[in-house]
Symmetry: C2
Subunit: 315 residues, 2 copies
């Protein structure tokens, strides 16, 4: 595999493949552009859940048992805040808070999210390039019976209980693609775009909503390869299956591929959904069946290698 | 003992006597006005070390072994911040951070420091009234060879190493005495003002620097009783002895009393400094010798009771 890979990632699921790609590609061959639509302002801090999930995963600091946040985490600050009557619906661990406080300090000093992300990843020993999709605020919101909800209010505070009728990305119309993301898109040696197994509606769409991005990707001749977050006709984790149903979609890889539309060249689906492959190919897509569930670093590296092998074959 | 007691307190040493006063007085008979000259802005938070020392002591949350901060504290946020290259010279524990985040949230919402202090102390089950000296920012600074240093830079970052030539209280000229402090000063049943054993130059002077306060106290007929922070001709803790010497003062109770001047009616000194009593009385002051070192709650309550007994006797 030669050439540069641009990976688009949301949080936890995407971060696993991103970690796999880091394990099999040298730093100069990979850029990971991360969704910032989940970001929000809380307790005076700018929390960037997807950037942090990717960062913690690449630094080997992620908690693999809990499935999110930092390993060896404690919750003392939250316990005190809760005791003092503060808002405790968004659980911020103590180690995690150390990162948020540091990021907030640099944001106040006028640094861009890109600069801060570069700084924090370097400090944690991450050699690969992690970039936010944009340095401008984009905020995912979902429409429910109670009106539009900010993403974390829906996702964490309401535990994804409200029925979702629509999704929007406030600020996306004016947000500029981040410098590192543009740079990766413009590389003459760009070999493929990999869409990590993140929620297309909630984690990848905010990236694709950036002005001009879809057109830029469409104008490229490199293959766009997505790894489906569906496993056995449902989502391993998170609200994807519920959301697809609420949005009137069948919970299938076909619906997922249709959502990406022309953008997509290749969909990698889980072996438990092997039956979908034929129908996908009928739509003109390449479809590859493999084990997409990543439980170990070996799983992540194998899937990353398989995706990279496809990058050479597609188109 | 009837009537209301107004205690003026700095941090750790003052907080011990404040805790003793709370143990022996019902809530309606005590107001504790706390120095805010040590407050500073750090990591986007407003840290109020003396208010917090008093709060933690009254809530029984103070760490009695370390001598400052919260008991059962952890330092995970600081460790992460340090790893990320953030400023780690001011050690903020995780539990402590929970309080700072809560205070910062209420400050951003436009609440005054008085309102927030009332809220936080109530949440921690403190029935007695703790008020900041002012809701307006006053910032203690010390003059050194390197110019004027913010108090925490001198006290924590530089560990009190620089030689101090002068002390000033930036903002004090425009700061208003807080509503709860004024209220206590104006009570018809005010029986005494107790200056807790805090550093006169660094912890009590910022309070006395508030416009009109010295005059208000001088106009009262109630006794002003200070407990000396000197023990055996030096300070138990902190830079008091070093500072007195640097400011050209003998490190004695006489110099300390002279610094308070006419304001003071009574100085309570430690038994190890009993020899000072005669000279103090020669200046026209009342002087009481007792054990001022507070190692246990029994010590704190005994000293508080002794001070209150004097309140009835003086004048």
């Amino acid at each position: 595999m030669s050439g540069h890979i641009l990976a688009l990632s949301g949080g936890v699921g995407g971060a696993k493949l991103a970690a796999g790609l880091c394990a099999v590609l040298p730093p100069e061959q990979l850029t990971i552009a991360v969704n910032t639509g989940d970001d929000f302002e809380h307790l005076g801090l700018t929390i960037c859940p997807d950037l942090d999930s990717v960062t913690y995963a690449l630094a080997g600091l992620n908690d693999t048992v809990r499935g999110w946040g930092v390993a060896d985490e404690t919750w003392q600050a939250m316990a005190m805040l809760s005791r003092l009557g503060g808002p405790d619906w968004f659980n911020l661990g103590d180690r995690d808070l150390g990162l948020h406080l540091t990021r907030a300090m640099h944001l106040r000093a006028g640094e861009s999210l890109s600069e801060i992300t570069a700084r924090l990843t370097v400090q944690l020993g991450i050699a690969h390039r992690v970039v936010p999709m944009s340095d401008d605020p984009v905020r995912t919101q979902v429409e429910t019976d109670a009106g539009w909800l900010d993403f974390q209010h829906y996702f964490v505070r309401e535990q994804c209980r409200p029925e979702v009728r629509g999704v929007r990305f406030a600020g996306a119309d004016k947000a500029r693609i981040s410098p590192g993301f543009i740079q990766a898109l413009s590389r003459p040696d760009l070999a493929a775009i990999v869409i990590c197994p993140s929620n297309p509606w909630l984690s990848v769409d905010p990236i694709l909503a950036l002005p001009g991005l879809r057109q830029q990707i469409a104008a490229l001749t490199v293959p766009v390869i997505a790894v489906s977050p569906l496993v056995g006709g449902t989502a391993l984790k998170g609200p994807l299956a519920k959301l697809m149903a609420e949005l009137g979609q069948p919970v299938t890889n076909l619906a997922l591929a249709a959502h990406y539309g022309d953008l997509l060249d290749h969909l990698v689906i889980d072996e438990t959904d092997a039956a979908d492959a034929e129908a996908l190919r009928d739509t003109g897509l390449c479809a590859t069946v493999t084990q997409t569930v990543m439980r170990s670093s070996a799983d992540r590296e194998r899937l990353a290698s398989e995706v990279l092998a496809l990058a050479g074959k597609v188109d």
